[in-house]
Amino acid sequence: MAKTRAIVKRRKAIRNIRKITRTMELIAAARFKKALDRAVQADAYTRKIAELAADLSATVTNIQHPLLEKRAEVKNAVLLVLSSNRGLCGGYNTSILREATQRIAQMKQEHTNLKLELSGKRAIAYFRYQGARPDATYTKFEDRPAYNDVEEIANRYLELYTSGKVDRVDVAYMKFQNVARQAPVVETLLPLASLAPEPTKKIVEAKPQKTVEYEFLPDPQEILQVLLPESFKVRFFKCFLDSAVSEQIARRVTMKAATENADEMIKSISSEYNRARQAQITKEIAEVIGGAEALK
């Protein structure tokens, strides 16, 4: 009796866990949909900024801006690590942290002064365990990062960069390529690699666009001065959106696998239970027959 009871208990526990993982899978799927919608809508903005930058670069011949210049010597750098606040999302955090750790080791070799900034409880806990001292931590970015909050950080980085206190800004995050593919990357956001942020979906360049003679208010050079920081902010915001989407995907995939595993376990435990029960019955019958035999 004792054995079957234990098996039943165990099966119940697994059923309960399966319920939780199944719910989490559904929630993650819904959140993923929303996060993706946001990312797609944000893409419209990115695309327009890129278009403007292209229009401007057609008129301004020699573009010079401090944000575009690569500094010869990188003395101080910022590394922002975007992880999640919650666990149960498979290798999502691990792979980001691995990338980040590699970059940190590399910077140490180059004797770069590193300012480490962390977003998400997972990264904070990990680096605390490693004994690293982060310069700033954020936990407010979940699946819907607000532009206002992100802009605040972006402005601070721009300030640090233009005042020369920092020579490079890197972000470690999970880049969203498509629904089936996300890759952990460390990207250098400052200095800017190019004028325009690249939108997720490549616009078909083939369409013959007439070059339009624009009227510029104020002159193109001045618009560019404002456009470049904006371009950085958009890229920066996109990192947050990407990591939000990727986190939900990772969680959904992990929870789906967990649910499937639970199903399998329930199946095997059920058959184990049936076998144990049958064995018990057989044993009892044998005992009854044995008892009857003995009475004869």
Partner: protein
């Protein structure tokens, strides 16, 4: 041949968070960095830097008002694309918080010229929001 003449403007407003608006218009007034710019159909292509203030879109006798805060505008083929960090419909402006912001900005003492400038901007922004809401109340 030139493009067929279509009367009317298309006004598109996008923020980094979402595509806010895409609608037809007869007339659009934009707050440029140095003053207001009115746009009627047939406007020459333009790229401009925006300041903060009121975006007015008139279509068929109805006018909608938005508060926008910086960004850029591109006008081309009668399509006005407004790229801005923040765009709030005037009915959704939180006047109490705008007033609060204004008050704190007035009370704060700036130490450096940059901070002074930032404070000045915050004040003007809040004032412009309050002004917009009050004007709307008077009208309706």
């Amino acid at each position: 041949m030139a493009d067929p003449i279509v009367f009317g403007l298309q006004c598109v407003v996008v923020t980094p968070e979402r595509a806010l608006l895409d609608e037809k218009a007869d007339f659009v007034a934009l707050p440029l960095y140095d003053g207001e710019l009115g746009v009627l159909p047939g406007r020459a292509p333009l790229v401009g830097q925006l300041g903060y203030g009121e975006l007015r879109i008139r279509y068929g006798g109805r006018t909608s008002h938005y508060f926008i805060d910086g960004g850029f505008v591109q006008i081309r083929n009668d399509v006005i694309t407004v790229l801005t960090g923040r765009a709030i419909k005037v009915e959704e402006i939180d006047i109490t918080s705008a007033k609060e912001t204004l008050l704190t900005a007035i009370r704060t003492i700036a130490i450096t010229p940059e901070k002074q400038e930032a404070l000045q901007k915050t004040q003007e922004r809040a004032r412009s929001q309050i002004r917009m809401v009050e004007r709307l109340r008077q009208q309706g």
